[in-house]
Amino acid sequence: MSMVLNEDQMMLKDAVRGYCLTNAPVSVLRYLRDQQSEDGFSRELWRQMVDLGWAGMTIPEQYDGFGFGYGGLEIVLEETGRTLVPTPLVSTVLLCATAINLGGSEEQKSALLPAIVKGELIMALALEETPFHNPTRIATTARPQGAGYVLNGSKQLVIDGHIADKLIVVARTAGGQDDKEGISLFMVDRTATGVDVRRTLMVDSRNAAHVTLNNVQVDEEALLGDLHNGFIVLEKTLDIGRIGLAAEMLGNAQEVFDRIIDYLKQREQFGVLIGSFQGLQHRAAHMYSELELCRSAVRRAFDELDGAQEDIPILASIAKAKLSEVLCNISNEGVQMHGGIGMTDEFDIGFYLKRARVAQVLLGDATFHRDRYATLSGF
């Protein structure tokens, strides 16, 4: 077990950070938002990131990936989280590539993973059906028809759904509404007949879409993993997704915190730097402490992902619960401690406040994960 980054990882961190500061600062998100970009992300920047190897970070070398491990993706997510640059990293690399890698057949892996590494394929996971994260509440159906299936249903909060070439759709092939059994995963082309994808404009300008499936026909190769048993792959994928999101949120929180500390050191009021007021100092010290715990929770989970892979569900819930709570608090403090200027759209800090709330509900909010932690711990 290692709670600190190794030398390779430190070098990667410096490189990713340097890239983000120079090429992908917060102004990228602002520009995309203000221009009402249809894609909601920059294909040009994504191309550069792909060239830097980010899309292949976790993909095994046999599929043209770089096998840097999840520890590499951790660094990329944290640093892109600092600047909020929109990328398909979460949708495509963190979630879908993971699902394919975990559940895909040799053919599926060979066909899809190299394309992801090369940045030629963007994918999205179509999971949620209610306003609250609930991976077993699946009403979308996949009925067998001939050698394939027919899909019907509707999905919300599909991250990057509108720019994805392919969707992984979580559908029910058996069982009742909340059963784990009877869930299956299907890969569906976004342009297939009956698929309607509509971008939803989110408060944080993160890319998301609403997906409707109306008698969508897929062939049997579309099935990812075992029929009825998709939940096993799905849950593993979601846990890795939660850990990855936590890394991104750590980047969000760290950036807000750093900006707060900078501001406390330069803003004068009543003839002194406001950072010398004990009330603000103590709040800063509390935030620092919580952030340290967050960093450890994220590091610990990633280290385990690249190691023995024990206790991943519980480590995922620890990380996501902790980050959800702390990022919301720190992003609130970000506005409050900057005062009036923090409330203006011109200033960046509001972007983090908005991102915090969307990030916290994605793949389960703090309450969801505390409940899950308790269940996993047997109480």
């Binding site: 609250f132 408060v203 009021q269």
Partner: protein, 413 residues
Amino acid sequence: MQELDQFRDNARAWLEHNCPASMRTPMTEDEVVWGGRNPTFKNPDSKLWLERMAALGWTCPTWPSEYGGGGLSKEEGLILAEEMQRIGARSPLNSFGISMLGPVLLEYGTDEQKLEHIPPIVRGEIRWCQGYSEPGAGSDLAALGAKAVLDGDDYIINGSKVWTSYADKADWIFCLVRTDFDVPKHSGISFILFDMRSKGVTTRPIRLISGASPFCETFFDDVRVPARNLVGKLNDGWTIAKRLLQHERTMISGFGLTSGRASRGALAATVEGAAMKYRGDTTKLSDAVLRDEIARYKIDSEAFAFTSRRSMEEAKTGKGPSATSSMLKNYGCELNKRRYELLLQAMGNQALGWESGDHTDFSKDELRITREWLRSKGNSIEGGTAEIQLNVIAKRVLGLPEMPIAAQKKGEK
């Protein structure tokens, strides 16, 4: 006592007869009447209602009748408010002239100033804005830099203000300016009034994280203002400024009061209603943890409402807004922020939209709540930050000692 009962009967009868039926319904934001030189009345009844009330001076019921006010006693004013509330009568006029400038002008203005400015405020003919905050000053309000230099019978004003609500729509401004640079910061400030049409005044709206806002930046470039428009003594404007801030806090603390109750859209009527609706619950909120948090919030809201009531009753025996206004302001704002955080939890993903285009992914109500949630973050910044209110409570209410800060002019902290 009998006289008060008589007054109540008369007021009730008058209201019954004069308050148009459409003025007895809840008001949406775009129906609020602000008056001014170019007033907008979305509903023609609003105009009628304002005129009728203004004719009696009942837009400002307890102000002296010699300046157009209602001339009512405190008790009568309370009765009028109760009677209006009884029939759900709208406030005929929303105005910084009434809530902020008027009270201090009555206290500190010359007779000429009162005669010039108070009647138009009562009648809603002049819309005022407040020129207090400056970009560099923030909570340290007294560190302001906009300056007024005497030139014959006029002051020449230069500088800029920020967070000027509705500066782009106001007719006049009441403004803090520095008139002496060689004394401690609180001692060189004056309080002055001028027409926003004056040459050299420009405004620029401010966009907030929640979207468009009534706030502006306001710039003064050699604005010429008659010296007689100075209110109170030269360089003694800080006294007036502080007094006015108390009135502002009293007004803002109303936030928390309404926060426990029904509000505009049906959706946001109650947090618990929203939480149940989005979960499909009918008799009991199924998320026990959220239920506990909502109950905590509602209990605090109720206790806060009792406290506002108590504070009012205590003030009846006293003399206007007291230092507890800081407590009410702060707690009320925090309650409002909590309310919106809970609404977000209540609504899940549906509270995270920004725009809906032609689609129905997010309803109007949902989008409104998201924006209001963002806007609520400013509650603990505007009108004196939470930190300032806590400082005021610690020092003025609890009498805790001032930190002896070295080598600087000490100010309100």
